[in-house]
């Protein structure tokens, strides 16, 4: 009986570890997919010279599907006016992008350890510039 009580006390603690492995795997896999989605959208933006409505829409749809969130939760900031390929470096002709997604439940058993839901989430952001390959008309 004593051992059973000890088991009951220890079991939730051990389960937290198992859940944490799963969260880590899931979050890591989602972030990898996010990187792939951004890579595809960025390559399209290089060709178009900017992030078109269609590219942004596809990116948001893909990211939302991979993370199991709504498209409105996907943060996107970026160049939406055409930039052109130039033969001299000009930072004004670079395409900017910043994509962020909320990651919920960073740590398993948050309530058990007294971690507030607000503190147990983060916004994962990928931000960079890329050169436009669009030639001027």
């Amino acid at each position: 009986m004593k051992q059973f009580i000890v088991l009951m006390a220890v079991l939730p603690l051990m389960l937290v570890f198992i859940m944490q492995y799963a969260f880590e795997q899931h979050n890591s896999s989602s972030i990898n997919k996010l990187q792939n989605c951004i890579y595809t959208a960025k390559e399209q933006a290089k060709q178009d010279g900017y992030f078109t409505e269609e590219t942004i829409g596809k990116l948001k749809t893909e990211v939302a599907r991979n993370f199991g969130i709504s498209e409105s939760e996907v943060l996107f900031e970026g160049t939406t006016v055409p930039k052109y390929r130039v033969n001299q470096f000009d930072e004004r002709e670079l395409i900017y992008y910043k994509i962020g997604v909320p990651i919920e439940k960073l740590m398993a058993g948050g309530k058990l350890f007294g971690i507030e839901a607000e503190d147990n989430r983060m916004l994962y952001i990928i931000e960079n510039y890329t050169a436009s390959e669009r030639l001027s008309d």
Binding site: Y21, Q88, F89, Y129
Partner: protein
């Protein structure tokens, strides 16, 4: 007492594994990020070439413009810019073009000019090789930072990734 010892052993094992898993994920993500930045640097630098020579059918790179692009990308790339503040960031860029003089830049400074002919088998300091058959830009980024693994028996302080951007030339 025996149960306590077994419990502590399992606890330490779990914590170690969890720490390793988290650090490994971060390390792999950092590798992907550095690779993406190297690709961006290479692709951007390859866009700048001498237009008058191009009209003659030769692709001659303009490294002075390419280096400005690379410096800008490196300065604005998170988390590499943040991590490099704790350690150091080396960026080696090699231009192979129709001048048949490869030019090697390290952190924006010209280090070496060497003659070559296409096709050329390029090998880096770690003996990793690649065939250069067209005008190309090879970018190698080395990030040295604090130990990326928190476990005492693992030590990785360096992330190195390379990217090569190749331009098609009618001469080859």
């Amino acid at each position: 007492m025996k149960i306590l010892i077994v419990f502590l052993a399992i606890l330490i094992l779990n914590i170690s594994f969890l720490t390793y898993q988290g650090d490994l994920g971060r390390y792999l993500r950092l590798q992907n990020t550095v690779k993406a930045i190297a690709e961006e640097c290479g692709a951007g630098a390859a866009l700048f070439f001498d237009s008058s020579q191009f009209a003659e059918g030769y692709l001659i790179a303009r490294p002075e413009e390419g280096q400005k692009h690379i410096a800008y990308i490196l300065a604005h790339s998170q988390p590499v810019a943040a991590l490099s503040e704790q350690g150091s960031l080396n960026c080696q860029v090699i231009y192979f073009d129709d001048s048949l003089q490869s030019r090697t830049y390290l952190n924006g400074l010209l280090q070496r000019v060497s003659p070559f002919t296409f096709p050329f088998y390029y090998t880096d300091e770690q003996n990793r090789g690649i065939l250069v058959a067209e005008p190309s830009v090879i970018v190698t980024i080395t990030l040295v930072t604090e130990d990326l693994f928190r476990l005492p028996y693992l030590e990785t302080t360096e992330v190195t990734r390379s990217a090569m951007y190749e331009l098609r030339s009618e001469n080859h």
